[in-house]
């Protein structure tokens, strides 16, 4: 099998330790630069978190360089991010307001932290009515540093560099279903996914269109109000009537189904690949991104391992025959690592396919890992700091 969770399908091309260290050096320096403020002003707990994150991120990058594999090491970071983000976030909510639910009073005072998932729903009301249909604040405030301007600025800057790879290196939700997909070996719904993958991968586009249309018509963030599975592990509107109770029920059902049960059964990122409208929206930016995954047709013998290994069904037989991925490829590297013939390669658009693919991989990874360290790393550091507070270490 070609499970990304299993041992690599081909012997990895190990680099020497010295060369690997040399290649890791820029990331180590970048990590130090990013977390210096934590040492200066963050207190003991945050300093511990920062040190751990610097070591963690640098070690993973070193292993990427040393083994030539991407997916396995990236996944460790990503799953850690997915599982630790709620820890820090929920802890801060409990400390601040004593509950995960967001009361209406905080919504009217603009204290809802902005989440990038709502971005597509904002476009039409912002374009035609100059109105943001989200109960946050545009500029950061003391009670809400995660303002709309800051978060959209961050997202857009990341998207310029990463494109759809946001979903593999920056999203603080995706690691959850990737984590549950990593449990166990047996794919119980493999045939179902193989048979209906071509339909399932279109669902996020349909949800995206619905969310955009209904948000514009109803003037409310429809996805946040009705469809976001991750409300279950972050914050949700306080249950005050039948409608909000129903919303909460939908959030929990979607979370259990799409983030826990289905990933476990299919070994796929079902929420990300078969549901997330933001992921579909982000796919559009793959068109302008410089990097992609390509298939060397001279080496490929259509074994299908790449398709089986892809966590979001972003490959089809036809696309592989054309030497390309589909638009929803999030550049996680699973297919490249799974390919026994080195036919799946990292590629810089404009250069010949399979000529110096490792150079393309390095150029992509430096940008992606730098941003992952900056954004995901700081989330990890904060979450670790929260846990340090809980533990009797003080």
């Amino acid at each position: 099998m070609a499970s990304p969770s299993s041992a690599p399908a081909r012997p990895p091309a190990f680099r020497s330790i010295g060369r690997s260290i040399l290649l890791t050096l820029p990331i180590a320096l970048w990590s130090l630069l990013m977390f210096t403020p934590s040492f200066r002003s963050g207190g003991r707990a945050l300093s511990i978190g920062a040190v751990l994150v610097i070591v963690f991120m640098t070690s993973l990058f070193f292993l990427m360089m040393r083994t030539g594999e991407t997916y396995r090491w990236r996944r460790i970071f990503f799953v850690a991010l997915g599982f630790l983000f709620p820890v820090g976030f929920i802890a801060s909510l409990i400390a601040e307001r004593g509950t995960m639910s967001i009361p209406i009073s905080r919504m009217v005072s603009g204290d809802t932290p902005f989440c990038f998932m709502v971005t597509p729903a904002l476009i039409l009301p912002a374009a035609f009515a100059r109105t943001i249909v989200f109960p946050g604040s545009i500029l950061p405030t003391a009670s809400n540093p995660h303002s709309i301007a800051v978060m959209i600025g961050l997202w857009f800057a990341f998207t310029l560099v990463l494109g759809k790879a946001w979903c593999s290196y920056a999203c603080f939700f995706g690691g959850m279903d990737e984590g549950f997909a990593a449990f166990g070996k047996r794919r119980r719904l493999h045939r179902f996914v193989t048979k209906y993958g071509s339909i399932l991968r279109l669902i996020p586009w349909a949800i995206l269109l619905c969310v955009v249309l209904l948000s514009a018509a109803l003037f409310e963030p429809f996805y946040c109000m009705w469809l976001c599975p991750f409300k279950t592990v972050t914050e949700f509107p306080a249950v005050r009537d039948l409608e909000t109770a129903l919303q909460f029920g939908v959030f929990v059902t979607l979370f259990v189904g799409l983030v826990v049960v289905l990933p476990y059964l299919t070994k796929k990122r079902t929420q990300c690949g078969f549901f997330c409208p933001f992921g579909a929206f982000q796919s559009l930016f793959n068109k302008i991104n410089l990097f992609d995954i390509r298939f060397d047709r001279e080496k490929c013998f259509d074994c299908g391992l790449c398709q089986t290994s892809c966590p979001t069904v972003a490959l089809s037989k036809e696309s592989v025959r054309e030497g390309k991925t589909l638009l929803n490829c999030m550049k996680c590297g699973a297919c490249v690592d799974a390919c026994k013939k080195d036919a799946a390669v990292w590629h810089l658009k404009g250069t010949p396919v399979a000529v110096k693919p490792e150079r393309a991989r390095l150029l992509f990874l430096y940008g992606a890992w730098a941003l992952a360290t900056m954004f995901g790393g700081s989330i990890l550091a904060n979450s670790i700091a929260t846990m340090v507070h809980w533990l009797p270490l003080k």
């Binding site: 339909i199 279109l202 586009w205 349909a206 269109l209 249309l213 209904l214």
Partner: protein, 245 residues
């Protein structure tokens, strides 16, 4: 003038800005102008209300301006028919319909449920063409297969959105009810329709969009999802009405 000035309104409950008195004789041109302006200014609300239905329906049509124009014309014609029915009813019963009619929630809920059913039916590709008995049964939905353009789909969806009680529609209904003659009410709604219909023309541009199996499938999925929303919205209105009596 014996009636209040018309102001552009977008609120769902804004119809009470108008008096409920029967107007004596409203000059035809003034009535037409008022209705047209009302239609033009409240067009975005119509677009928000009907757009989610029109968009997926247009996306499942074959590529080209011709098929899109035909479908849009059918849709708008059926919508006009819905308008006329409502205009006549509003005039006959009087201004009481939108303001105090206790059955308004029933009508809202019922129409939304019907709209949900229509969206589901046409997203699924029903009614299927007749087949010989010996033919094997096709799957309900062949993914990517564009359903043959069915005039009945555009007509059903157009009529149901036509009688859907969206806010500007209710405002126009109150005005129509105030007019002295039925013909005046119908004419008022005709002009109101013309004002709103202009906002639907951009949908023709969807004819230029490349039709791939993926686009058609996504459009049908959107129709199903929207049907779920309309179904939920309609059902919750009816349930609320039943509980509250």
């Amino acid at each position: 003038m014996a009636y209040e000035a018309v102001t552009p309104v977008t609120g769902r409950s804004a119809e009470n800005r108008y008096t409920t008195r029967k107007m004596a004789a409203l000059p035809l041109a003034a009535s037409a102008g008022e209705a047209l302006v009302l239609g033009l200014t409240t067009g975005p609300v119509c677009l928000a209300s009907c757009g989610p239905v029109v968009l997926p329906w247009m996306l499942v049509q074959p590529k080209g301006i011709g098929p899109h124009s035909r479908q849009l014309l059918l849709f708008l014609a059926a919508r006009l028919a819905g308008y006329m029915v409502f205009a006549a009813a509003a005039w006959l019963v009087g201004a009481a319909i939108p303001r105090a009619w206790s059955g308004r929630s029933w009508a809202y809920g019922g129409i939304e449920l019907l709209l949900a059913i229509a969206l589901l039916v046409y997203a699924a590709g029903w009614p299927r063409p007749r087949r010989a008995l010996s033919e094997p049964s096709p799957r309900l939905v062949r993914i990517g297969e564009a359903p043959r353009p069915r005039p009945s789909g555009a007509v059903a969806l157009g009529f149901l959105t036509g009688i859907n009680l969206c806010p500007p529609f209710l405002v126009a209904g109150v005005r129509a009810a105030q007019l002295a003659h039925l013909s005046g009410a119908l004419f008022f709604f005709l002009c109101f329709f013309a004002g709103t219909a202009i906002w639907f023309l951009p949908f023709l541009s969807l004819g230029f969009l490349q039709r791939t199996p993926a686009v058609v499938t996504v459009a049908r999925m959107v129709a199903v999802l929207l049907a779920c929303w309309y179904g939920f919205s309609g059902a919750s209105l009816l349930i609320e009405r039943i509980i509250n009596g």
